[in-house]
């Protein structure tokens, strides 16, 4: 895609800014300011890795799996949205041991879990939107998935 393809979008955006008819809502600015607290200095960011064919298909209320990999860890993250609630379940492989903590983060809150012996974890009832899973390991850098957008 060339630069020219984006120019109309940006020109329209400039017109809208100058018109002042649609200013950025206060809650959007507040969320932006709050995002700074979500940084994890030194964390290893896990990018999406390939999953098998068909797994990415999704429909209302059915789980979707995402695989992330970094620093020798694989994080399989399964997300389900139903009734405007987000449930996250998954597995860290190889299992990180009882001293590790799995944190499932949304911009507004985080929930920590001790993974099972097999590396499984689950957090239910989160608000839909952006979510990230972090594996905190003793004596090693945390591994965080890239932020994932999940809505119906």
């Amino acid at each position: 895609m060339t630069d020219d393809d984006h120019l109309p979008t940006y020109l329209l955006a400039a017109l809208r800014m100058a018109a002042g008819a649609d200013p950025v809502p206060g809650r959007v600015s507040a969320a932006a300011r709050a995002a700074f607290a979500l940084r994890l200095p030194g964390a290893v960011v896990a990018s999406p890795a390939e999953v098998g064919p068909g797994v990415g298909a999704r429909s209302e209320g059915r789980p979707v799996m995402h695989r992330f990999a970094a620093d020798g860890l694989i994080l399989d993250v399964e997300v389900t949205v139903a009734d405007d609630r987000l449930d996250v379940a998954g597995q860290v492989s190889p299992a990180p041991g009882p001293d590790a903590r799995i944190e499932v983060r949304t911009p507004g809150a985080g929930s920590s879990r001790v993974p099972s012996e097999t590396g499984h974890f689950a957090v239910a009832g989160l608000p839909p939107g952006w979510v990230s899973v972090v594996c905190h390991r003793p004596d090693r850098a945390p591994v965080a998935t890239r932020w994932l957008h999940v809505r119906d």
Binding site: T9, Y10, R39, V55, R146, L148, H149
Partner: protein, 173 residues
Amino acid sequence: MHSEKTFPGLDQAAWEELVTRFDGRMWAVARACGLGPADAADAVQGAWLRMVESLDGIRDPERIGAWLITTTRHEAVRLARRSRGERPAADALPDVPVPDPAASVVDAEFGRRLWLRLDGLAEPCRSLLRLYALNPDAKYAQISMRLGLPMGSIGPTRSRCVSRLRALIEEER
């Protein structure tokens, strides 16, 4: 090439300064991509989260504004595709983008110059672009009724009108 210095002195206050400078531009870009308020809010928040996860790798603070605007456009395009029912393979996440050079036009002062030039456009361009800029949630059907244009021609006409506006601006340079 990027310089090798890492992001200097980024604390909460510096971050909030970035928010003040750029969140209005990011919002305008998400809306200009055709997103409604809820999706636009998600796209803007997504761009800030991409910045949070990319902080260790940001090498060029000078271009952070263009990076934020470009990232907002990427996230907005992904959300727009999804709301149309398209599903990119395995929800492919974009890599950290290279800033679009055109991102610098997203500026209220430049927008005011565009408005002055808009009056020099013939119809239906003048009315169509005014309508788009002033009514962010305008639907094709409403525009079609107000301007007496066939619904199917709104998209192509808008592209043509933006191209004309752009040609006028380039003459000015």
